[in-house]
Point group: C2
Chain length 490, copies 2
């Protein structure tokens, strides 16, 4: 395909994308297919000769679309949102064309520098303490990771390297293995599975600390476990606090946890993957209070800030801690001319030393386009609209005496259930997801099976919330009627 | 921005992309900017009010483009290629619109299923042994990773988990830490820095084994080190063989290494990040002989197979080994309805258990578009064209008695130097990269400083190779003249 053909076909694709976005509410949110549906529909092997764009697009409608869970349908209320906006898509097209691999400054200076400044912009939008910003001469700074999982892992590895070096400096005879055997990391029992996985990958113990009745990790619970572990000869070195847990959007108590971590020389990482976007609104910023105690902080603009996946924003107070964990510098990744520039990680960070992969796309273009084409005020309005919709749903639930709200609705997630058995709620969710008019996923809160309704789509409005609730109550009524009939017959 | 505006602006962006690709050869391949150039050019913080697309695109030309290293310029010969093609860009647009996060089958069945089938297609294109394919009922299968670094890390972690379980099954008293202390992994002294980093992250020893005079890792060298390490009480568990090393595109000897690894219960991972794409041509497939001994195999279609970054293809023989290293399954990532489907990793793999991040884009669309719009024959022709160009450059070098070829030219990389001191060659490279007509990076081969010319761009032709060589020889002539003058004056 040459440029002229791309001009024609690319524009057809732009229309297809616009059609898809405009019409996604008419598609069934959740697919009908069974596992293995796709393989019989396409050839066993790649074609020898070229096929046309038209043929492929026919197959997109025929083969791909029937197997899509439409994350951007206004009837999609599952998991958490994943961002989608036209400015981000435009930036992604540009990023694809430039197609640089920005592992070092010189591999494409604009790619590294725009990222550093965009992370400062975003840090200022959420009023992050100055210490996390790169600014002109800070020790901190931000970087785009692919996911919150990677941010947690990278933090844990940096903390592990730091504590091993500190202990080996004190006692030069200590082996790395002997130290690692005693290292212990912490997170709440509500933290994301990726935290446990970071411990697994890093080869260290990770303990889940019980949360309070609001599913929040408290200082006293941490301190109790620290005391026990230290008495048993373990070495606490890392803690992940979560703001906006995946199950129920609860918030760990940073103001209690932070001072303990600082006093005990424990690296505190904050995972605000979903909730973090809300902190651009002053009225939600208090939820981030205590971040000043943290060593690293992360949230996902690719969840709730209209920057398409992937774009996970991570900041550290001391970038040298991060770099220290990864830095290896073979000559072929150096650039010869680069070596005559005085090395200055501040002006020209080499992001390869901040992350797991070596290569990286020019992702900060997406932030730049979104921040500029929306402006901060419209981004705030977007967050507020979602929060308002979740409260609208909350009040619908509250008005129906058969239902209960399970946890405080703070942002865009509502946890609710029928007052009754887990079996009943499991049956309701099954009915919902079999009917496929809306899509939800559940969680367990202690011993309770709970339904989660997350405000997800960019285009979701009050009318969709009202429809969703009407649909849920209709299914619930059917279910309860059947249950009553069964009871009567017994 | 609404859909109507996106239809208009999106088409402008398509034209911008086409203009950029058509005109990239006219842009200076390597930027003039100094570190820190960008920050003073843009505001300190994000705007409160929306800005227009026109304003942003003006800034793209004014602020971004002057800081871009143009990886797709036909004068870019640095590092290795990074893929760029119009079909991949089209697929990326579609992927951005669908915007699903395919961590589990049900999170978007088409995303998971197309990936499984595309990895089978690609596996067949390179004639990978059946055991690596998912097929209809295989134990193996493929997955898209973000980068070769991640593929190596994931393999190492899978191997680590496997050996720890095996040893703990034999001796239940053994702690994980005690085992990890004795684990040792291997790679050649030519392997990529990401291999060393995987060892660092995984918390295990990693030893670099000396290569032979062709920079190839041989069986005898591995066996020698194994014998020493086992005698010292260490536990060898993992080896990375490289096909197409970054420095000089050398090839480890799989047919010698493989049987040793199999006999010694060592997981063999093959990293063919760059070279792997060439194996779609029958005449290069012999370089992959011995893959049948491997446990995992990886190469990057995002390097040399026209699938834009990121798309790193990885296969394993036993998918349960990979999954075993990562699997954690919280309820909120389950899907309730999904639970009624009999669990069958074969039909519906949950790729979250195959990788470091949780979330993932619909990347297999890029493979599908590229494979279909090119067809296998044109992809083969593309590889052959690049190899032919590297041999053209090689013969130009060979004809000039002042220069030497440093290693055999097998694929698209030529390692060469002026016959003379390292200082002379360093000076030549500095001159080349300061003049900025072409862009190269160096490597060290043993004690020699060597220039690398990699055939990179999709649009590079004989004329660019001829220009590049003419330019290099002109600079060399100047340099040698100056050196002779200095000698005369001494």
């Amino acid at each position: 395909m040459n440029a002229a053909e791309f001009r024609k076909i690319g524009k057809e694709m732009v229309d297809y994308v616009a059609d898809y976005m405009e019409g996604v509410h008419k598609r069934q949110v959740y697919p009908d297919v069974d596992p293995g549906y796709l393989r019989p529909l396409i050839p066993d092997s790649a074609p020898q000769e070229p096929e046309t764009f038209e043929d492929i697009m026919k197959d997109v409608e025929k083969i791909i679309m029937p197997g899509i869970t439409h994350w951007h349908s206004p009837y999609f209320f599952a998991y958490f949102p994943t961002a989608s906006s036209y400015p981000a898509m435009l930036a992604d097209m540009l990023s694809g064309a430039i197609g640089c691999i920005g592992f070092s400054w010189i591999a494409s200076p604009a790619c590294t520098e725009l990222e550093t400044v965009m992370l400062d912009w975003l840090g200022k939008m959420i009023n992050l303490p100055e210490a996390f910003l790169a600014g002109k001469d800070g020790e901190g700074g931000g970087v785009i990771q692919g996911s919150a999982s990677e941010a947690t892992l990278v933090s844990l590895l940096a903390a592990r390297t730091k504590v091993i070096r500190q202990l080996q400096d004190k006692c030069p005879g200590l082996t790395k293995a002997a130290i690692m055997d005693k290292l212990v990391a912490y997170a709440s029992d509500q933290s994301h599975s990726s935290v446990e996985r970071a411990g697994l990958i890093g080869g260290v113990k990770l303990k889940m600390i019980p949360t309070d009745d609001k599913f929040s990790l408290r200082g006293s619970a941490l301190q109790k476990m620290l005391d026990e572990d230290k008495a048993a000869g373990l070495i606490p070195f890392f803690m992940v606090a979560t703001l906006g847990t995946t199950s129920c959007c609860s918030f760990d108590n940073l103001l209690e946890l932070g001072p303990i971590c600082n006093k005990e020389n424990i690296w505190m990482h904050i995972d605000a993957a979903y909730a973090g976007s809300a902190f651009i609104c002053p009225e939600f910023r208090h939820l981030l209070n205590g971040v000043e105690f943290a060593d690293s902080y992360n949230f996902n603009p690719h969840k709730w800030l209209l920057v398409n996946f992937d774009c996970s924003a991570m900041w550290v107070k001391k970038r040298r801690d991060l770099i220290g964990a990864f830095k290896l510098d073979p000559l072929y990744l150096h650039n010869h001319s680069y070596q005559v520039i005085p090395f200055d990680e501040m002006l020209c960070p080499h992001f390869q030393h901040w992350q797991i992969p070596l290569g990286r796309r020019f992702r900060s273009l997406k932030m730049w386009f979104v921040f500029r084409m929306y402006g901060v005020k419209r981004l705030q309005a977007y967050i507020r609209k979602h929060v308002k919709l979740s409260h609208e749903f909350e009040s619908l639930v509250q008005k129906d005496p058969r239902f209960e709200i399970c946890t405080e609705v703070v942002l865009g997630l509502v946890c609710f259930r029928i007052k009754g058995s887990n079996e009943l709620n499991e049956a309701l969710l099954e009915k919902i997801n079999k009917t496929k008019k809306i899509h939800l996923v559940p969680c367990h809160l202690r011993d309770k099976f709970v339904l989660r309704l997350a405000i997800c789509s960019r285009t979701v409005e009050s009318v969709h919330i009202q429809h969703a609730w009407q649909h849920i109550t209709e299914l619930a009524t059917e279910l309860l009627k059947k249950e009553n009939e069964q009871k009567m017959n017994q």
